[in-house]
């Protein structure tokens, strides 16, 4: 047998083995197929990767805002403001941008805005189609986003408080880091099995055409029933997307790891969750239990980090908890329910004043919200310890810089001030402006100019007072999309790319 033919057949065997393995793990067929192809493909230059990281319930601004020196927005400290939620990022400041003066648009108020904060959609119902910006970018790049969650919704199902990521319809994040890890890396490093090339992909495409025709036939039968037509149109578009994907993978190009990366926390979760029998309500599901939240988040972060390093996923979303989630944060040194107790703690005047006592610059008590800030700093610490610090010290294959140089992490929350439930920039009380907590970390392949406080117009009102003039957060999405190499992305209410962010 000629060598090249032998190799070609061997390659096909590997493809089939990876394909079947991925399917066994429940990965969508197109993804499995593409994964099989990319796993055997040649390496290319490091791609840009995007991670969207959610933190619920906003912040206490007095413990968030960087301390800028001499009005120089490139000269700031992240660990100088009380509890310093951003403090753990101080060593990585050269990778950080903090965005100020951006608002969420739309009719949403308070936590309900989680359903539209990443898309810029104006509606807050749960049936109108919308697409969050990571999915917009992923579609443009032709990759399949990896959406992960750690207790990202209630055990009983995906209600509006968990609907952060959208792909036309709400996306349910993968709850299990074990499934995610096995899907991404399960086949790496294993010996190829015997077999021949499967005609599966061809038959699958034929089948999707059949399903499309069935939906269209049903549409014809239901002519005049508007709601059902809409329902079927969504379904048809989804089937057609499967057809047109042709097997979109998670990463752009080859998976750079040849062996399954070490993920000890994932293995701990695997052991702990093995054999669980979930009751009909899902209430006892290991992956939604409060007591497992910490380890689940850390395990998901392991998956995220290795997926980025190995280029197994180019666009990732990670959602710990959900809006109004009331997990107790005693473990983080912040006793109390995260939503109703910690985040709802408002600014107070000092010296035993009641919550609604007039707050003056002279009596503002920065200790009041230390517990909430401590809880939010825990999120930052997790992000730094499990993702940022690893990416910042891991060289890209071939030595072309560090992984964080080619990565863009966008860290956000659904509201600004946890107690005030802001979705626009405000000055709620003396000397502490309230911004949406929006941060980017990473240089995105050199496309992002970092270490700066990125501000929209901040000026004075007619009375000469400090005033915010917000831009839509979708301007950030537009800018980050361009940085990711998606110049034609469009979002609602944009006014243009933010100047000074792109290199």
């Amino acid at each position: 047998m000629p060598t090249h033919l032998f190799l070609k057949r061997a390659e096909k065997r590997i493809e089939r083995r990876i394909f079947l393995k991925a399917l066994a793990l429940g990965l969508a067929v197109p993804v499995a197929a593409k994964m099989a192809r990319i796993a055997t493909a040649a390496q290319t230059a490091p791609p840009k990767r995007l991670l969207v990281f959610f933190m619920p319930h906003g912040v206490a601004p007095e413990h968030w805002n960087p301390q800028v020196s001499a009005s120089d927005n490139t000269n700031f400290a992240l660990d100088m403001t009380g509890v310093s939620i951003l403090g753990p990022l101080e060593p990585y400041k050269s990778y950080v941008n903090v965005y100020q003066g951006f608002q969420y648009d739309g009719a949403a108020a308070t936590h309900t805005g989680i359903v539209n904060c990443l898309s810029g959609a104006s509606v807050i119902d749960t049936t109108t189609a919308r697409t969050s910006f990571e999915h917009v970018i992923a579609k443009a790049l032709g990759v399949q986003p990896l959406i992960l969650g750690a207790c990202s919704h209630q055990p009983y199902g995906l209600d509006s408080n968990g609907m952060l990521f959208w792909d036309g319809t709400p996306v349910d994040p993968q709850k299990s880091p074990v499934v995610a890890a096995d899907t991404l890396f399960g086949s790496l490093g294993q010996a190829p099995e015997a077999g021949t090339q499967s005609p599966d992909m061809q038959l699958q495409n034929d089948l999707l055409a059949l399903t499309s025709s069935e939906i269209q036939s049903l549409q014809t039968q239901l002519s005049g029933l508007t709601n059902e037509q809409t329902k079927l149109a969504t379904h048809l578009a989804a089937i057609q997307a499967l057809q047109s994907d042709g097997g979109a993978s998670g990463g752009a190009g080859a998976v750079s790891c040849t062996m399954r990366p070490s993920m000890p926390t994932v293995e701990m979760v695997r052991s702990a969750s093995a054999g669980q029998v979930i009751d009909s309500s899902g209430g006892n599901d290991y992956f939604y239990q409060e007591q497992n939240f910490q380890i689940l988040l850390q395990a998901q972060m392991e998956v995220v980090t290795q997926a980025i390093i190995c280029n197994a996923a180019q666009v990732i979303g990670l959602m710990p908890m959900y809006a109004t989630c009331d997990f107790d944060f005693t473990f983080a040194g912040a006793p109390g329910s995260h939503h109703t107790t910690l985040s709802h703690t408002g600014p107070q005047a000092a010296a035993g004043a009641q919550y609604n006592s007039p707050i003056q610059a002279s009596n503002y008590d920065t200790t009041t919200r230390q517990a909430f800030a401590t809880a939010q700093r825990w999120f930052c610490q997790q992000l730094v310890d499990n993702v940022v610090s690893v990416l910042a010290t891991t060289m890209e294959p071939g030595g072309s810089g560090y992984v964080l140089d080619n990565t863009l992490i966008y860290w956000m929350s659904e509201i600004g001030d946890g107690a005030m439930h802001t979705r626009v920039s405000e000055i709620e009380y003396p000397q502490v402006p309230t911004f949406m907590p929006l941060v980017s970390i990473g240089k995105c392949g050199g496309a992002i100019k970092t270490q700066q406080i990125v501000q929209s117009s901040i000026g004075t009102d007619p009375n000469g007072n400090f005033a915010m003039i917000d831009r839509s957060a979708t301007d950030i999405y537009l800018t980050l999309a361009q940085a990711m190499g998606v110049p034609n992305a469009s979002f609602p209410n944009t006014t243009g790319v933010i100047s000074g962010v792109l290199t």
């Binding site: 066994a24 429940g26 969508a28 067929v29 197109p30 499995a32 108020a109 308070t110 119902d125 049936t127 209630q154 055990p155 009983y156 199902g157 995906l158 209600d159 792909d167 319809t169 349910d172 005609p199 599966d200 061809q202 038959l203 699958q204 034929d206 089948l207 999707l208 399903t211 069935e214 939906i215 039968q221 029933l225 508007t226 709601n227 059902e228 079927l232 969504t234 379904h235 989804a238 089937i239 997307a241 499967l242 009751d279 009909s280 309500s281 209430g283 006892n284 599901d285 409060e290 009331d326 997990f327 005693t330 109390g336 329910s337 709802h344 408002g346 919550y355 107690a419 439930h421 802001t422």
Partner: protein, 571 residues
């Protein structure tokens, strides 16, 4: 078609008036019964509307604004719909149709999308990109298992004559099971043409596998059709197959049995209410009604939460779930009880360990009934599973506990939380009671603040549960301080006081005496069963439920006798 009707039936839907506290809009969608206008669409006239004045309650629900209650003057047919199977329904369906491969395939489906009413079976659910991918992967997983060893058992001709005719046998038999009706000739030809083309490109097993995937992910399989055929009077009559499907999923959570489909072949399923009643009595039927209570009360979440100050809580929580399930089984199925019994029974069914946790008499065996100690609560809302899930992690919460009766027994509307929510001061055991903290913070007694505008509607209800701590245990005092469990229940629009109560027992008895409670509960039950919150669809049972002539299980079964079960409006 059901033609008899009850007149002037009070109907509270799970959406209600924009109450006085509402500073924001009502939820989108929902039920038109709350408006006094033209009412919901229906196959009959006068289906709803009016002024919103209750016909069955003595004026207790004549809310202001857009009308708290509707008078349902006759049977109503809702819209024709395609209902996406829930994840549980999809799994159970495949296990019932292909028992030979049970446990051999992987379900990749995402969690069900939950409606604003808390139910995962809403008719608005559809197949988006994620669901489509997951359906394909799940179907492929099953089909891959199917064409392994089990295929020769399922389809004997696969071993002897694996050809077009053999595939046709499969399509005809399993197509009918998966589509829940005989496949049409066009469908027959379409699938066999696909099989033939696939066979030309691969082998019998591969062609069978992908054809099976197609049948499983077909829109005819993943949606329950409740469309019917249009009649000359502008109504739609559901086919026997559609009704068989509806009754099977509603009352067993799965696809019609082959026998039921054969019955549908004959054109009639007989007395639907009687059939539904027989199904409700089965294990699957009981599970379906239990699933309603799980969603309605959200009590099973107790196993997913923590109470840092109660070290024994984690061990007790699973038993709390079982306690509540057993309690419901006892009241609803064994005793045939109704809402009144559910709200006011003085017994409960803890495990021995849980009884010790509560400080209750220890039952003879786990989950055997015991009488609750006098003065330590009655009814399902005094169960640990409810009380612990409706509380903060380190303290009870009159707000969360009061909101449940307000929204899900009185159908009051909880508006969106305003932007600036002042903090509740942290618990100070021995210094201030929880009630005092909430009264002060929400300005309940003075009532002049923005907080009080809304919280006066539900916090005083929640005060009734103050003898129970955050873990659901009875407490005589709170850190040595006297507990005041008295309170009051206002009309959902806040316009008047419905009753006052001295304690939890008084609260439960008061709620059990309100017509609104029955109408609202019936609204939730119908919304869960029909997957839609259109108004008055299941209103016929309200009076009987209220006067105690039928229990909850029978009311559930009686929904099969409503007009909506067999008839739909044109649009």
């Amino acid at each position: 078609m059901k033609t008899s009707m009850k007149t002037s039936v009070l109907w509270l839907s799970p959406i209600a008036v924009a109450v006085a506290c509402a500073t924001t809009t009502k939820p989108s969608g929902g039920i038109s019964a709350t408006s006094g206008g033209s009412g919901s669409s229906g196959a009959t006239t006068g289906s709803s509307g009016g002024t919103g004045t209750s016909g069955a309650s003595s004026g207790s629900t004549s809310g202001g604004g857009s009308g708290f209650a509707a008078t349902c003057t006759g049977p109503v047919a809702g819209s024709p719909i395609l209902r996406l199977l829930t994840r549980a329904e999809f799994d159970q369906t495949l296990n019932d149709i292909f028992p030979q491969v049970a446990g051999m395939w992987t379900d990749s489906l995402p969690s069900d999308t939950v409606s604003q009413w808390g139910f995962g079976n809403d008719t608005s659910n559809t197949v988006g990109n994620q669901e489509a991918q997951a359906l394909l992967a799940t179907a492929l997983s099953l089909a891959t298992a199917l064409v392994g060893t089990p295929l020769n058992t399922i389809l004997p001709c696969a071993a002897t004559t694996p050809n077009h005719a053999c595939a046709e046998t499969f399509v005809n038999e399993y197509g009918k099971r998966l589509f829940r009706r005989p496949i049409t000739s066009a469908e027959h030809d379409r699938y066999l043409a696909f099989f033939d083309a696939s066979l030309a490109k691969s082998d019998f097993n591969s062609a069978m596998k992908w054809m099976t995937v197609g049948l499983i992910q077909s829109p005819n399989a993943v949606y329950r059709s409740e469309i019917g055929t249009l009649n000359s009077d502008n109504t739609r009559t559901l086919s026997p197959y559609e009704v068989a499907t509806e009754i099977s999923y509603t009352y067993t959570g799965s696809t019609p049995t082959a026998d039921l489909l054969t019955q549908a072949d004959g054109g009639s399923l007989g007395d639907l209410t009687a059939l539904a009643k027989s199904l409700v009595a089965t294990a699957a039927g009981k599970q379906e009604l239990q699933a309603f209570f799980q969603a309605y009360l959200s009590y099973t979440a107790v196993t997913a939460i923590e109470k840092p100050n109660v070290t024994t809580f984690a061990a007790a929580a699973p038993d709390m779930v079982q306690e509540t399930q057993t309690f419901i089984d006892t009241i609803v199925f064994q005793q045939g009880g109704g809402l009144k019994e559910l709200l006011t029974s003085n017994m409960t069914t803890p495990s021995k360990n849980l009884a010790t946790f509560y400080g209750f008499p220890v039952p003879s065996t786990d989950y055997a009934p015991v009488t609750r100690p006098a003065g330590q609560g009655i009814g399902i809302l005094s169960q640990g599973s409810f009380l612990a899930t409706h509380a903060n992690s380190n303290a009870s919460s009159p707000t969360q506990r009061g909101l449940f009766p307000f929204t899900r027994l009185l159908c009051g509307f909880k508006p969106m939380v305003p932007p600036n929510v002042p903090p509740i001061p942290p618990p100070q055991p021995g210094v201030v009671t929880t009630r005092q903290r909430y009264e002060e913070q929400h300005d309940i007694l003075d009532g002049g603040s923005e907080c009080a505008t809304c919280h006066r509607l539900w916090d005083p209800i929640g005060f009734g549960f103050e003898h129970f701590d955050e873990a659901g245990r009875y407490r005589a005092t709170e850190g040595g301080l006297t507990i005041d469990p008295s309170g009051w229940v206002l009309k959902a629009d806040g316009s008047a006081t419905l009753f006052t109560f001295p304690d939890e027992e008084g609260l439960m008895n008061g709620l059990a005496g309100l017509p609104d409670s029955y109408a609202c509960f019936a609204g939730y039950l119908a919304t869960y069963s029909y997957g839609t919150s259109q108004s008055c669809l299941g209103a016929s049972q309200v009076s009987a439920l209220q006067n105690g002539t039928i229990g909850i299980a029978d009311a559930f079964a009686a929904l099969a006798g409503e007009m909506h079960f067999t008839t739909r409006s044109a649009q």
